[in-house]
């Protein structure tokens, strides 16, 4: 590695954590250009947000987008508690696109993800209740 930025500032810049004006360096630096090309190409083949239709209690259909969509769908079904939620997880899975891929994050992270989802769902419930 000859450029000191190739595995530091350039990576931060690529992932939105570095200074915007670093683009000028990347454009002029062969090594940083190569690193950028590699990361962009790898990220481009990663599975994207999955979409699973989830039907809240009010009957309107939604797509739940998120990397952990299937797990999240299960939790959403659980979160609605006493209210009937349809489709059930089984049907949610059945309705999931045939090409949906599993992209499981470590289980330890699921808690954070689900906490965030829980909060979002609570907000949504409030919004629905105020309609």
């Amino acid at each position: 590695m000859s450029c000191e930025h190739a595995e530091t500032t350039t990576l931060l810049w690529l992932y939105g954590e570095g200074p915007e004006d670093h683009a000028a360096h990347v454009a002029e630096c062969a090594e940083c250009t190569e690193v950028s090309a590699l990361h962009a190409d790898v990220v481009a083949v990663l599975p994207e947000v999955e979409a699973v239709p989830v039907r809240p209690a009010n009957g309107s259909a939604w797509y739940l987008g998120g990397g952990l969509a299937l797990a999240a769908a299960a939790v959403l079904v659980a979160l609605v508690g006493g209210r009937p939620a349809e489709p059930t997880l089984d049907t949610a899975v059945a309705l999931a696109p045939a090409t949906t891929f599993e992209w499981q994050a470590p289980l330890s992270d699921l808690t954070d993800e689900l906490d965030a989802l829980d909060a979002e769902f609570a907000d949504l419930s409030d919004e629905l209740a105020n309609l």
Binding site: G16, D41, V43, E48, P53
Partner: protein, 171 residues
């Protein structure tokens, strides 16, 4: 850069940029608009067409990663009626079989790497965690987290190339 010069450079480069993005994302037009917006805002001081092109493609690569990151960060409820449906893969594989092969290559490669390397890669590509936060979680310096992520990406890139699945490396 003079507005007319910028416009003419954008016009000249648009077909190539669109093709480049089309090999890597499913929303090339949208992404191209974002790239042009960024470039126009930055108004880079590029003495010739070649340096302008290099700048544009640098921004384009960053936007590809940014677009993936934004989608992953979005755990949203989208009305079904809006007809919104996320593509399964950011790439545009010729077939679902290709997409499955790509994912298999990624997973197989990750299986050969050290857990702490895989952890950084997964956290950064499927979560909203920054490298700084990942470094803090792992209790390592920022550069170590960056190095781990780069190692994973390098390994996956090599495996994809070997399998003939990396988007054309030429622009």
């Amino acid at each position: 850069m003079h507005a007319t010069l910028l416009d003419s450079r954008i016009d000249a480069l648009s077909p190539e940029l669109l093709a480049f993005l089309g090999r890597r994302t499913r929303e090339p037009e949208e992404l191209m608009q974002e790239v042009w917006l960024k470039v126009a805002r930055a108004n880079p001081d590029c003495p010739d067409d070649r340096s302008f092109r290099a700048y544009v493609f640098a921004v384009a690569r960053r936007q590809i990663i940014d677009a993936h990151r934004r989608r992953q960060a979005r755990v949203s409820l989208v009305p079904l009626d809006a007809g919104v449906r996320e593509p399964v893969s950011a790439a545009t594989p010729d077939s679902h079989a290709d997409a499955r092969r790509m994912l298999a290559v990624v997973e197989d490669t990750l299986a050969t790497l050290q857990p702490e390397v895989v952890e950084v890669f997964r956290w950064r590509t499927t979560h909203t965690l920054s490298f700084k936060e990942i470094a803090a979680r792992q209790g390592v310096p920022l550069n170590t987290a960056l190095g781990r992520h780069h190692r994973a990406v390098k390994a996956i890139g090599a495996a994809l190339s070997q399998a003939g699945l990396r988007p054309e490396e030429s622009r």
